[in-house]
Structure formats: structure tokens, C-alpha cells
């Protein structure tokens, strides 16, 4: 197949005819039309996009208030928590089943709204709970706590009594976290609020041969368990689960599980 067309002795074009076809305005117009605006070019989107992402990421990282604690916990809710002076050095709420909301502080106070999954409304007298029994926001996040938004802005704390979402088991006022073995053994039993008394529980601990689970009747901590705790469980967690409690009316309920970390 022929690659080219060939023409012999074509009539040459006059220079004047070519000059008449010059149209510089058309060139200018077309050039302006063909020009891509800077904000449409890839060179704009690359650096600007990266800068925007960097700014957003740094803004999020530099502002601690923007931390996401939980899918269900909004910023305003998290900000409301310090107002109730919730923190946890010693006592946090922890549950294998899921959720709890709050532990009383030393001063009885009205907590406006703290709603928890599987909510059981009750009032707890705060005398049995340690001063340090406070919640950290992180703990709330871990526990997947769903908190209703606080409608009034700052929390006022004038009230004597504090409403607690659930009946709380504790040993020497400690529900969860670090507790000395001596405290466990001197208390010798699992206490409970709201007029409930523990009637049985499972305790998972290390008996020297490995992790074991004992079912205990009553609220007392048997002396052999106490001895094992002293010997083998300092620094390793002890779980108290399936805590069944009963009140004076004979109503039974399963309480939240406890996670303790025995120390010297």
C-alpha cells in the first residue's frame, strides 16, 4: 500500500494570498480559550490537596477535644464528663457483657444524664465508694458507653445524693483496677450497694498451676483464694464474674463483673 500521496508541479501559492489569511486575533482568542485555569490543573490539586489533608490531620491531632472516644459519644458529651469530675485512678467500670456508666464520687452530687445500655436505674449511697472512684473518658470509650447529650451546659453539683445507673459490687470500695492484696483479704468479701448482698460469684485467678475459675457461694473471699492471690496473682489480673446478688425482698440480679489487679 502506498504510504504517501504524490503531486507533481502543483500551482504555487501567492505570498499575498497567504498574508491575507493571517489572523492574529484568532490566535490570541484561541490561546486564551485553551488556557486551563490554574485551579483546574493537576499542579494545583496536588500540592493544595496535600496541604489541605495535612492541615485537617494536624488540626485533629492538635485539638484533644476532637478525639473520638466512641461511636456513640459526641464531643459535647465527652466535655460534659469532666464536669461530673469523673476519673479513674482506682475504680473504673468494666464489664464483659458491655456497659456501665458511672461511679459515684466522694461528694454526692446530681448527675444530670447518664444513660447506659441495659440500664437499671437505682440510687447508690456514696459512702462505700472510694474518693478515687471516678471515670476516665477513655474507660467510657472502651466500654462502649452510650451517653445521652447533656442538655444544660455546665453541670451544677449541689445535691447530696448521686444517682447511679447500676448496683455496683466492690471490694474495699474498689470496683476495678489496682487494689492491694491486703485490702482484698482484710475486706474479705464483696460488698454491694442498693441493699443487695452477693450470694455467689465466679473468680478467675492463678493458683500456681495456671489460671483457674472457682465458683464461690456467698460474698466472702475464701482464705485459700486469698493465699493464692498473695502468692501468685500480684501484678496479674483477677476477674470476678457472674456475681449474683439478692436484696431483702428476695430479688436476684446479676451484677457487673469486676476486674482487679492485685498489688502488694
Amino acid at each position: 500500500m502506498k504510504k504517501t500521496n504524490t503531486t507533481l508541479d502543483r500551482e504555487p501559492m501567492n505570498s499575498e494570498a497567504i498574508r491575507q489569511r493571517q489572523n492574529f486575533n484568532y490566535i490570541l482568542k484561541e490561546t486564551a480559550a485553551a488556557k486551563i485555569p490554574i485551579w483546574k490543573s493537576i499542579w494545583f490539586y496536588g500540592p493544595v490537596g496535600i496541604a489541605m489533608v495535612t492541615m485537617v490531620v494536624s488540626a485533629v491531632r492538635m485539638n484533644p477535644k476532637n478525639e473520638t472516644y466512641d461511636n456513640n459519644t459526641t464531643l459535647s458529651q465527652i466535655q460534659a464528663i469532666p464536669a461530673t469530675q469523673v476519673s479513674t485512678d482506682h475504680a473504673t467500670i468494666e464489664s464483659f457483657e458491655s456497659t456501665i456508666a458511672e461511679v459515684p464520687t466522694a461528694e454526692s452530687e446530681e448527675i444530670p444524664t447518664v444513660v447506659v445500655e441495659k440500664q437499671i436505674e437505682s440510687t447508690v449511697s456514696t459512702d462505700k465508694v472510694d474518693d478515687n472512684t471516678k471515670l476516665k473518658p477513655e474507660v467510657l470509650a472502651e466500654e462502649n458507653i452510650e451517653i445521652e447529650p447533656v442538655k444544660s451546659a455546665p453541670v451544677v453539683i449541689p445535691v447530696v445524693e448521686k444517682k447511679i445507673a447500676r448496683t455496683m459490687p466492690n471490694i474495699a470500695g474498689v470496683f476495678s483496677g489496682r487494689i492491694s492484696v491486703l485490702q482484698i483479704c482484710s475486706a474479705g468479701m464483696i460488698h454491694c450497694n442498693n441493699g443487695y448482698q452477693v450470694i455467689s460469684y465466679d473468680i478467675q485467678y492463678d493458683n500456681g498451676a495456671g489460671s483457674t475459675v472457682d465458683r464461690v457461694s456467698g460474698s466472702r473471699i475464701p482464705s485459700y483464694i486469698c493465699a493464692n492471690l498473695k502468692r501468685y496473682n500480684v501484678g496479674s489480673p483477677v476477674f470476678i464474674t457472674k456475681i449474683i446478688a439478692m436484696n431483702e425482698k428476695g430479688e436476684r440480679k446479676q451484677l457487673l463483673s469486676m476486674s482487679l489487679e492485685p498489688t502488694f
Binding site: 503531486t7 497567504i18 489569511r21 492574529f24 488556557k35
Partner: protein, 188 residues
């Protein structure tokens, strides 16, 4: 063989061209003198390789639009601005062939054929112009281009080198080899 004198410029005209370019980089409307100066040259280069006159004018306009759009990339290297325009023209020309699925055209004059046969240094070969015409049409594209630039458009080797982005010597060697191939084809 006499060469086309348009391409060759004095140092002062080259410097003036450089000034026009730097002004046009700031204000596109200052590109006017360059357009006026080179429009005919570029059109003739394009039309030499095309059948359709209107199409040739369109491609020429496209060359200047491309040149003006990309003027900020142009660097003055002491050679006429037209060498850059010719490279754009070549690219636009082939783009046009692809777009229209058209074939490239080789426009020859009898005078051009005589110029080539003069180079053969053999009087017996001069007679068969039709055969030479056919052989030229069958040349490979790079060889045909060199023949066009040198013998049809009467360009100097320096200009050919600048248009094809090769050295003057390389242009000379390539043209000589192309001529040899044409001669070989012609003698078959």
C-alpha cells in the same frame, strides 16, 4: 545548490527576536511580530506536506496557538525561533494526519527532481524523471523528509539540523545517506 535565505539571520535580528519573545511571555499580544514574520514560512512548510489548502491554514493556526500557549517553556539558544515553530508544525501535521486518517502528501516540482538528479553525478540517469518520481514516493518517511527539506525547500544543513534537532554534520550525513538510498532504488 542555492539555499533558502529566509532562515539565516544576523545576530542583531536574533537578539531582536529574543526581545520579542521575552515581551510576548509577559503579554501574549506582543507575539504579533513573530506571528507576522513566520506565518508564511510555517504555512508553506505545512502546505508542502498536505493536499488541502484550508486544512493547511488550520494546521498553521494550530501551530501558533500551541507556540503561544507554550511560550513560557521556550528557551532562547541562539537559533531562530522558527526552528521551534517547525518542530511544533511537524508534530501538528502528523497529528492532523492521524485525526483525519489522511495520507501525507509529497509535492514535487520538475525543478526539484532536476536538483536531485544533479546530485547523482550521472548524466544517463537524468532522463527517467517518472521513475525518480516513483522512487521518491517510496522512500521511508525520514529519508523523504530530508529530501524535502534539502532539495525541495532548499534549506541549509544547519537549518535542517535545527529543525530535526540534530547537529549540522549529522543532518549532512543523513541527507547524503538518504540520497544514496534513493539512487540505489532508482538504479534497481
Amino acid at each position: 545548490m542555492a539555499v533558502n535565505p529566509i532562515y539565516h539571520q544576523t545576530k542583531s535580528t536574533l537578539l531582536q527576536e529574543r526581545d520579542w519573545i521575552s515581551e510576548a511571555k509577559k503579554d501574549p499580544e506582543r507575539f504579533g511580530p513573530l506571528y507576522t514574520k513566520y506565518h508564511e514560512q510555517i504555512f508553506r512548510y505545512v502546505y508542502q506536506r498536505m493536499d488541502d489548502q484550508e486544512q493547511a491554514f488550520d494546521v498553521t493556526s494550530q501551530v501558533f496557538i500551541k507556540a503561544l500557549s507554550n511560550l513560557h517553556k521556550y528557551e532562547f539558544r541562539g537559533v531562530p525561533f522558527s526552528s521551534w515553530l517547525y518542530r511544533i508544525a511537524k508534530s501538528e501535521l502528523y497529528q492532523s494526519f492521524r485525526d483525519r486518517k489522511a495520507k501525507r502528501t509529497v509535492n514535487m516540482d520538475t525543478v526539484h527532481l532536476i536538483n536531485i538528479t544533479d546530485e547523482f553525478d550521472d548524466d544517463d540517469l537524468v532522463e527517467d524523471k517518472d521513475k525518480l518520481f516513483r522512487c521518491l514516493a517510496e522512500l521511508r518517511e525520514p529519508d523523504l523528509q530530508l529530501m524535502e527539506l534539502r532539495y525541495f525547500e532548499k534549506r541549509s544543513y544547519r537549518e535542517i539540523g535545527e529543525i530535526l534537532d540534530v547537529t549540522e554534520n549529522n543532518a549532512k550525513v543523513k541527507t547524503f545517506r538518504a540520497l544514496e538510498r534513493l539512487k540505489k532504488q532508482f538504479l534497481k
